[in-house]
């Protein structure tokens, strides 16, 4: 009974939050509802007894959306409405509707057909953290390592791009020097 109530509650909350994310013209509303939606999604993982993935969802997305906020803070006045220029296009609505329908159908297959089975079903002997680890380090070891190397490449590139002038401290410099730099 509790599972059903919790599922419908969080389903409704998630959908409402993401609708606000898409529809709102205020950047602050959009991002806050995005963060809230991401955190509400973790409830489904908890309902499915995938505690580890639920917590990872919370930790990863709360950090990621925080970085988005930082960008929004730098680029726009988040208390004002953003002027958007996107007239409704039929093709966009049609395609996004079709994709949504397709996703729903894909997720419905286990209910419709009995032939779809979980490749790595949960067992009671090992906890779900261990189960994720076992699959990640045996079957999916190569994709896992490739993802790690890609992240490393991205990190090094980011550091090099950002640190071109890192040896000079802006805060400790006297105003005159900064003005000189500005004039150049």
């Amino acid at each position: 009974m509790f599972e059903v109530v919790a599922f419908y509650l969080f389903a409704a909350l998630t959908i409402v939050m993401f609708v606000i994310t898409v529809m709102s013209k205020n950047a602050l509303y959009a991002m806050s509802s995005l963060a809230a939606g991401m955190i509400f999604i973790s409830a489904f993982f908890f309902l499915l007894d995938a505690d580890f993935l639920g917590v990872v969802q919370i930790i990863v997305y709360s950090g990621a959306v925080m970085a988005l906020y930082a960008f929004a803070m730098m680029f726009m006045d988040t208390t004002k409405e953003v002027k958007e220029n996107n007239p409704p296009k039929r093709i966009v609505f049609f395609l996004s509707g079709m994709i949504a329908l397709l996703l729903v159908l894909i997720l419905l297959t286990p209910i419709i057909s009995d032939k779809v089975k979980a490749l790595y079903p949960m067992s009671d002997e090992i906890g779900n953290t261990e189960a994720v680890g076992i699959v990640l380090f045996t079957k999916y070891l190569v994709p896992f390592e490739v993802a790690a190397i890609m992240l490393l490449v991205a990190m090094i590139a980011g550091i090099i791009l950002a640190s071109k002038r890192m040896d000079e401290s802006i805060t400790l410099k006297i105003d005159q020097e900064i003005e000189q730099k500005g004039a150049e």
Binding site: L28, Y29, V55, A67, T78
Partner: protein, 331 residues
């Protein structure tokens, strides 16, 4: 069985909420007193004997003050931001085993609201969301000081999170579980078994990150009075302002419980002291440490915080994890 479980959970939730709201209020009194004695002042003295009723007076003031929302603010977000801080602080406590099991009238009570097998990650993750409160408050206030506070929240969050995660990783590797109860049971053998002896570096890193997580001095950049007025809380008054501080003090207790459970033997019996009292002593030691640090250390600048977290603490934490792994592999 089902009904008993529901009633038990609700009672536990109410006890945690009530107890820690009251403790948060009391901690403000303790903080003012300890700070005062460290600075050779008397602190609150007028309300009640030794100013002990100051908490009550402050509570009445906070509850009866006008709930003021500035015109330029984004109303819904401005209103919900303090609730996020307070709510997440209490939600995080749901996965903390506070005391050993005890029996009342033949009914065994486990003093943990939800015993999940990823308790440690859950507590840290939910506490992390708590910083959304200051962030949203600062961005919704329509005030430049608040916005600066929000910007500092973002950099603080992105800085300390890595250190917290990596510093607890080494103890997690040793214990082989993310459940706080397993951490406690691992250290059941007495003081010699405490994880702090095996992981002293991780312990210190976790404490430093804990100061940043609860935005206490020396890392209270978010509401640095001398620089950004009151930071994210500039436009807040009354109970909404109070909720931020209930959240902050509740987070202090959470960090105290976490540090005691992970590194200092949790609620195991300590010599002749029963477990429940032992963990309370440890938690209050950490609360005292928070206040002590506030009395002794100046604030740091935001760039110093980022420098410290990314260039000093994170490499140390990574080296600590690698060394722990090598030692576990060969010994």
């Amino acid at each position: 069985m089902e009904t008993a479980f529901i009633i038990e959970t609700i009672v536990k939730i109410l006890v945690v909420l009530g107890l820690f709201s009251a403790l948060a209020g009391f901690a403000t009194y303790v903080e003012r007193k300890v700070l005062a004695f460290m600075q050779r002042r008397l602190g609150p003295m007028h309300v009640g004997p030794y100013g002990i009723l100051q908490v009550l007076a402050d509570g009445i003031k906070l509850f009866t003050k006008e709930d003021f929302i500035p015109q330029g603010a984004v109303r819904p977000i401005f209103m919900i931001a303090p609730v996020i801080t307070a709510a997440t602080a209490f939600i995080a406590m749901a996965a903390i085993p506070m005391f050993p099991e005890f029996t009342i009238g033949g009914y065994t009570v486990r003093p943990i609201i939800s015993d999940m097998n990823v308790g440690l990650l859950f507590v840290l993750g939910v506490m992390g969301i708590g910083l959304y409160g200051p962030l949203l408050a600062g961005m919704a206030s329509g005030n430049k000081w608040s916005l600066l506070g929000a910007a500092r929240t973002a950099i603080q969050f992105l800085s300390y999170e890595v250190v917290t995660g990596l510093s607890v990783l080494a103890p997690v590797m040793i214990v082989g579980s993310l459940s706080l109860i397993d951490f406690n049971n691992y250290q059941a053998g007495g003081v010699g078994e405490w994880l702090v002896w095996k992981q002293p570096i991780a312990f210190i890193l976790f404490l430093i990150a804990g100061f940043a997580e609860t935005n206490r001095t020396p890392f209270d950049l978010l509401e640095h009075e001398a620089e950004v007025i009151s930071g994210y809380a500039t436009e807040y008054s009354g109970m909404r302002w109070g909720l931020f501080f209930i959240g902050e003090y509740a987070n202090m207790f959470t960090i105290g419980f976490l540090a005691s459970l992970i590194f200092l033997g949790g609620f195991n019996d300590l010599w002749f002291i029963p477990g429940a009292i032992a963990i309370l002593l440890k938690v209050f030691f950490f609360i005292f440490l928070f206040i002590w640090a506030r009395a002794s250390w100046p604030h740091v600048r935001p760039d110093q915080l980022m420098w410290l977290c990314w260039k000093v603490l994170m490499p140390i934490a990574v080296v600590n994890v690698v060394i722990t792994g090598i030692v576990m592999m060969f010994f």
